[in-house]
């Protein structure tokens, strides 16, 4: 591959205001064990690079999986940036960021690439063996690893190299009573093969969940108080609030948090952060623009305190960039993304939250959700639910789905417990990003539950 600095000099000579090149080399391996049989096993490597060019107010980015074509890609990126500029009226720019020179390898005890395939097969088989088969009709255990080496070079002089390993394990089990039910749990993080140990803790969680679902009733519908468990609270904060705090959505008028910095957006005692330095699945040392990763305190005691920002959105919002730019791989440009999104614990006991509810729902672990950041609306499904009556958990529920308005719901947080747990996930925003989300138990005084009764 041609020296990135030479390529960028050429682009600057041709009128580019700024450019950067991100080169990546990926190694991936995955195994899927379905009902005791190795269903899929795959391994491979690839490399490529993306050139990003800013010409006046226009951006052009071209990625290629053929490093010999990088010069052609850079020329196309410049031409796209020029054409993009012709259609643009809005001014753009990049907020200043410290020039970085660094070479970081994220710590890991055991590089997954050095672990024999036999051991990974034993892992998925061992996890499956530990699943109680009494009421489970089908099992799926997945293991996946990625190790990526990145080199980010910018026309301003930043040159950052980093190696990021990630390991993940999923358990998916199905059972049948009067309906067919499914329960899932995942474990993993940023680090080495040692993270697979966490998967063993999830075996009992997922089997117990399925057992409850098989005896569960459908939930009531209407406006009810709802307690989220740490996993669901984390996903809620990520989806309903975190996305609205992404700089690109804010600067393009797609967020209900626009113009609310410094305002009260949540109940007293609510503290939310997005922290790429937290040891989770969304951890990284530098973002994909070469900005050093730092903790973002988004909500401080109910007051909106910060956003997640890349350099362009920081420029547009007149703020400091804080390492919010992430790209799925070398084919695509970075977008503003979350990392590890966390709502901080409070001081109540979980039992005290339950006691506060006359009739409501205790919802555990998310099976997905969707938000509209501009309209400030959300919808979530819990994997597992319980009916609460007179301050006591009465019976299990399935297919618990609820929705509401983000800003209203954040103000309706009337209790936060003192426990904490973080989970892992893959966030989609046109591109996939590995993330963690976590929190304590959280009582919302009023959400709309969509049941079938």
């Amino acid at each position: 591959m041609i020296d990135p600095n030479r390529l960028m000099e050429d682009l600057l000579d041709k009128g580019a205001e700024y450019c950067d090149i991100r080169k990546e080399e990926w190694d991936r391996m995955s195994v899927t064990l379905k009902d005791g049989e190795i269903d899929k096993i795959s391994q491979g490597g690839e490399e490529g690079a993306i050139v990003r060019v800013l010409y006046k107010n226009g951006w052009g980015c071209v990625g290629t999986s053929n490093l010999d074509d990088i010069k052609e890609a850079s020329e196309r990126a410049l031409s796209m940036a020029k054409s993009s500029d012709e259609f643009k009226n809005e001014e753009t720019g990049l907020a200043e960021t410290e020039i970085q020179k660094d070479d970081v390898k994220m710590p890991m005890d055991e590089n997954p690439l050095d672990v024999d395939t036999e051991e990974k097969i034993s892992l998925v088989r061992d996890l499956e063996d530990k699943i109680n088969r009494d009421f489970v009709s089908s099992t799926e255990v997945r293991y996946g690893e990625t190790v990526v080496e990145k080199e980010i070079t910018t026309s301003e002089g930043t040159q950052v190299m980093m190696e990021i390993p990630r390991v993940i394990t999923y358990l998916i089990i199905t059972g049948e009573s009067d309906t067919i039910q499914r329960a899932t749990e995942g474990a993993g993080g940023t680090g080495g093969y040692e993270l697979t140990e966490k998967a063993y803790e999830k075996v009992d969680v997922v089997t117990e969940r399925l057992k409850k679902l098989l005896e569960a009733d459908t939930p009531p519908s209407g406006s009810l108080p709802l307690i989220m468990d740490p996993s669901l609270a984390g996903v809620f904060v990520h989806e309903a609030f975190g996305h609205a705090a992404e700089g690109d959505l804010l600067s393009s008028g797609n967020s209900c948090l626009k113009g609310k910095l410094g305002e009260k957006v949540a109940a007293d005692g609510v503290n939310i952060k997005d922290d790429p330095t937290f040891k989770g699945y969304g951890q990284f040392p530098y973002d994909d623009e070469g900005t050093k990763a730092k903790n973002r305190v988004l909500v401080k005691d109910g007051v909106l305190n910060d956003f997640i920002l890349d350099r362009e959105s920081a420029w547009k919002l007149d703020m400091e960039p804080n390492g919010g730019a992430r790209a799925e791989d070398f084919r695509v440009k970075p977008l503003v993304r979350m990392s590890n999104t966390i709502i901080e614990p409070g001081d109540l006991k979980f039992e005290e939250l339950i006691e506060k509810v006359d009739k409501g729902i205790y919802a555990k672990s998310s099976s997905g959700g969707q938000v509209s950041t501009a309209e400030g609306t959300f919808q979530f499904n819990a994997q597992e639910g319980y009916l609460i009556e007179d301050g006591e958990i009465v019976k299990p529920l399935r297919d618990v789905s609820f929705n509401g308005f983000t800003l209203e719901t954040l103000q309706n947080i009337t209790g936060i417990s003192d426990d904490f747990e973080a989970g892992i996930g893959h966030c989609g925003k046109g591109q996939t990003a590995s993330v963690s989300h976590g929190g304590p138990h959280m009582l919302i005084s009023d959400v709309t539950v969509g049941g079938r009764e």
Binding site: I38, I41, V62, K88, T179, G253, E375, F378, F380, G450
Partner: protein, 447 residues
């Protein structure tokens, strides 16, 4: 450049052959561009060139898989052979049939959009269309994605197939600012031929948002729900399509297990997976394992006819592959996956489907939370209008609809306005050609 992909596939097959093994090699070369819309104007342009190979090797009836880029074929084959040791034995028969149907999926005009700056102009048309309805309506999100590619599949049985394809995807989300938040609506167009009316896409989005300005209304009780092609695509995609997948059926993860030949839907319903439809966004002459494409009826006259299979699942279930071996890219093994689902019914005029009292749903939030095993769903509708005497009235906020998709099919009614719809499910795309439908068995809940 396409010769590089052909040579690379041949090299990889030779690598497998010379070791006395069986296998297949799938390669994809893609060129794509995208133009995004933000704050009422074209925001940025991007693109990528991608090429790679997926190599599946069968050694002692065991399958291993590796992927690589051209030039690294030997390494890719080596990975695949090493991993095959860990797989289960399976009698996988690779196809050798070479007579492909003629299916139109490549529009030469797409090349011009990718090579020239025409993409930016088409994006501008969506912006212009959405800005023309009212001054306070702004296109805040969306864009145009155009790609063309060459797919090659070859195997050690002498099969060697190559096909060019193209796809165009345009979307625009428009907003009207409100005191606290904003009102939004989205319109999407997808095709593999460059005959989308981009200005119309923008105009439709703007007209939708313009019609939800009035303050939110309320509706209680259960009523018929008329739902747009795009919204029903989402519900069916997440809550019903998994149930027709041969693997899920074999493993008891489908409500349709053991029901072939039974009446499962309203008499008029035809649901088929037909990748031989010209210009179908999921169409193609062969699947990603080299099995020749065919039209597979799933539900016909309300009767359950077939499930879908790839080579592996058909070997396990002792069935024929239906040509539904689909890969998410060259890095993935094939999986049994829908290709170009088509939904047809009696074909009433859309206006005749509108109830005396009910709702019209344009879009749903959270369809991916539908239970893929039972088909139960509970989703937020947005935007949604109250319907009275067959006419759309004011919007309703925060309304949820819940139901069970297999049950809903028994009384579903379909209009005659079939539209190509698109849904991203993880790394896979679901293509459904469906009209507007009326659902008569759902629960409505709201504040």
């Amino acid at each position: 450049m396409s010769d590089q992909i052909v040579e690379s596939v041949k090299t990889a097959i030779e690598e497998i052959d010379k070791r006395g093994l069986k296998g297949d090699v799938y390669a994809l070369k893609e060129k794509a561009i995208g133009h995004s819309i933000k704050k009422g104007e074209l925001s940025e342009s991007s693109g990528y060139d991608d090429i790679g190979l997926g190599i599946r090797v069968i050694k002692d009836d065991k399958i291993g898989f590796g992927y690589c880029v051209p030039g690294k074929e030997e390494k890719g084959v080596k990975h695949a052979i090493e991993l095959s040791d860990f797989s289960e034995r399976l009698d996988l028969e690779l196809p050798s049939e070479k007579d492909t149907p003629g299916v139109e999926v490549y529009d030469e005009k797409v090349r011009d959009v990718i090579e020239d700056s025409e993409g930016a102009e088409l994006t501008q048309k969506m912006i212009d269309g959405s800005s023309s309805v009212a001054d306070d309506i702004t296109p805040t999100r969306g864009g145009l994605n155009v790609s063309m590619g060459t797919r090659v599949i070859g195997n050690t049985e002498g099969l060697f197939l190559k096909e060019k394809g193209s796809s165009i995807f345009g979307s625009v989300t428009v907003s009207i600012p409100q005191e606290e938040t904003s009102l939004q609506a989205t319109e999407i167009g997808v095709d593999c031929k460059l005959d989308l009316d981009f200005e119309e896409i923008g105009g439709k989005a703007a007209n939708k948002v313009d019609s939800i300005r009035s303050s939110s209304e309320r509706l209680s009780g259960d009523h018929p729900v008329v739902i747009s092609p795009y919204a029903i695509t989402q519900l069916i995609g997440f809550g019903l399509i998994p149930a027709i997948n041969g693997e899920n059926v074999r493993k008891g993860k489908s409500v349709y297990q053991g029901k072939i030949g039974e009446k499962v839907a309203s008499e008029d319903l035809l649901m088929k997976d037909d990748p031989t439809v010209d210009w179908g966004v999921g169409s193609g002459a062969f699947d990603d394992e080299g099995v020749i494409s065919k039209d597979t009826p799933i539900i016909s006259d309300g009767i359950l006819k077939n499930f879908i299979y790839d080579l592996k699942e058909s070997a396990k279930d002792e069935k024929e592959s239906t040509g539904n071996g689909v890969r998410s890219g060259f890095k993935s093994l094939p999986e049994t996956t829908h290709r170009n689902i088509v939904l047809e019914g009696e074909g009433k005029d859309r206006d005749d489907l509108m109830p005396d009292k009910g709702i019209y749903v344009d879009n749903v939030l959270g369809a991916h939370t539908a239970n893929p095993v039972s088909g139960d769903f509970s989703v937020v509708t947005n935007p949604v209008w109250r319907v009275e005497d067959g006419e759309r009235k004011g919007r309703i906020d925060g309304l949820m609809i819940s139901g069970n998709l297999p049950e809903i099919l028994k009384s579903i009614e379909l209009a005659d306005d079939r539209k190509k719809c698109f849904l991203q499910i993880g790394s896979r795309r679901l293509i459904i050609e469906t009209p507007t439908v009326r659902l008569n068995d759902v629960t409505i809940s709201g504040k």
